[in-house]
């Protein structure tokens, strides 16, 4: 890992200033994605700006129609939150399935979303639930936020402060996990919420999270596992790697969608 200058600001303004003043700066939240890629020299920032000391990025609040999760909330905090468990149990269960206990103790929702790993779980939850990504300067709908593998709508010096999830009437996430990393080989979140039925898939495509319009339409007509059970998914554009080839992933998307619908009850 190359060395860098470390910054520990206590306000968003100072964090933005540190990023703007750096030749090649990056933010660090929990570091569970950033540090591994820095060890591989896939990222070599000149400056690392920590958000750990910035006030106002933690906490989970029940807003009635929605639940707002602070960007620095760890996966363990989301999984263990009585508010999330009570209002959006699918989100708590999803967070409880990320990585392992120690990764969940350190990794954050904001960090995961800023990184946008194509096999991460949160993108599927955000898109299916119709979440809004709140930053230091604007609000971005999930459909506009994710822009391909490791690509997001964030500007270089923009900082996620919170994520707002509309409360669905029912939702569930089913993941076929890589047994070593627990990343999704294919993961499907199904949500029946204010924006109708939404089905979001992660892990399967090199372009990151995507929606299954055909499944959404079928479930909108008749919400049940049989609506998606026989629905074939094209393997075009899906990932092929040592974990699974594209045809197998296409098959998994249907199976995970079916399981998620069943888990909606």
């Amino acid at each position: 890992m190359n060395d860098f200058t470390y910054h520990a600001p206590t306000s968003l303004d100072d964090a933005v200033a540190a990023l703007r003043g750096a030749e090649g700066g990056t933010l660090i939240a929990g570091g569970q994605s950033l540090l591994p890629i820095m060890k591989l020299n896939l990222a070599a920032p000149t400056d690392v700006v920590s958000l750990a000391g910035v006030a106002g990025l933690d906490g989970i609040t029940d807003d009635g129609d929605s639940v707002t999760v602070g960007a620095m909330c760890t996966h363990a905090q989301v999984a263990g939150s009585a508010t999330v468990q009570g209002r959006i149990p699918a989100l708590a269960a999803m967070a409880d399935g990320i990585g392992d206990a120690q990764v969940r103790n350190a990794g954050t929702i904001g960090g995961s979303l800023a990184h946008n790993d194509p096999a991460a779980d949160y993108p599927a939850a955000c898109v299916a639930l119709g979440a809004t990504i709140v930053t230091d300067r604007r609000e971005i709908g999930a459909d506009d936020y994710f822009q391909g593998m490791f690509m997001t709508a964030l500007e270089d010096d923009e900082i996620i402060t919170a994520v707002r999830f509309p409360v669905p009437s029912r939702a569930a996430y089913a993941k076929f996990a890589n047994p070593a990393s627990k990343y999704a080989v294919a993961g499907v979140m199904v949500a029946d919420g204010p924006a109708g039925v939404r089905v979001a898939v992660t892990g399967a495509s090199g372009d990151g999270v995507f929606r299954m319009a055909e499944m959404e339409s079928a479930l909108g007509d008749s919400f049940g596992a049989e609506a998606v059970a026989g629905m074939g998914v094209s393997s075009h554009g899906l990932l092929s790697d040592t974990a699974a080839d594209a045809d197998y992933r296409a098959h998994l998307v249907t199976v995970m969608a079916k399981r998620a619908v069943e888990a909606c009850g």
């Binding site: 060395d3 470390y6 540090l35 591994p36 820095m38 990585g99 392992d100 206990a101 990764v103 350190a106």
Partner: protein, 157 residues
């Protein structure tokens, strides 16, 4: 270069590090606390698990500067003199180790679980140990040890 100060096993410790210095390297190389092991260095094996502010983290995937000001507990901080911590005693009693390389991380991870759940089921233990790899014994006796250790702790470390 940054200076970090943290409480390690109840004692205030300081050191000058590089930004890129990992917490595990600060513990091992700067403080000589070599009980915390480096196995994979890719945050998968869990040999490096320590507690930072009371929760278990992988110290190979944490910068020393991130732990500045924190309260850190390593495997060396568990025993009270010659008296083993109940979780360590349980690992000995139930033969929860063979070569011992993974054991410090296993024990630190297990203590975090026991602090949350004083009577975890076998399923709970196996799920919790997802991020701790043992390549000798398999997990059978480790799981028994963690359950016994948690009960012996009685909900507190």
């Amino acid at each position: 270069m940054p200076t970090v100060t943290m409480t390690v096993n109840g004692m205030e410790r300081s050191g000058t590090v590089e930004g890129r210095t990992l917490l595990v390297d600060f513990l091992r190389e700067h403080l000589g606390l070599t009980g915390t092991h480096v196995g994979c260095d890719t945050s998968q094996c869990g040999a490096c698990v320590v507690h930072v502010n009371g929760t278990s983290v992988k110290s190979c995937t944490c910068l020393a500067v991130q732990a500045d000001g924190a309260d850190v507990t390593t495997i060396e901080g568990l025993a009270n003199g010659a008296d083993l911590h109940p979780m360590q005693e349980a690992f000995r009693e139930h033969h929860g180790l063979q070569c011992g390389f993974c054991t410090p991380g296993m024990v630190m991870s297990a203590v975090d679980l026991a602090n949350r759940d004083s009577d975890p089921s076998e399923h709970d233990v196996r799920e919790w140990l997802e991020g701790n790899l043992c390549r000798c014994t398999g997990y059978h006796n480790i799981v028994k040890a963690v359950q016994a250790g948690a009960r012996a702790m009685g909900g507190g470390s």
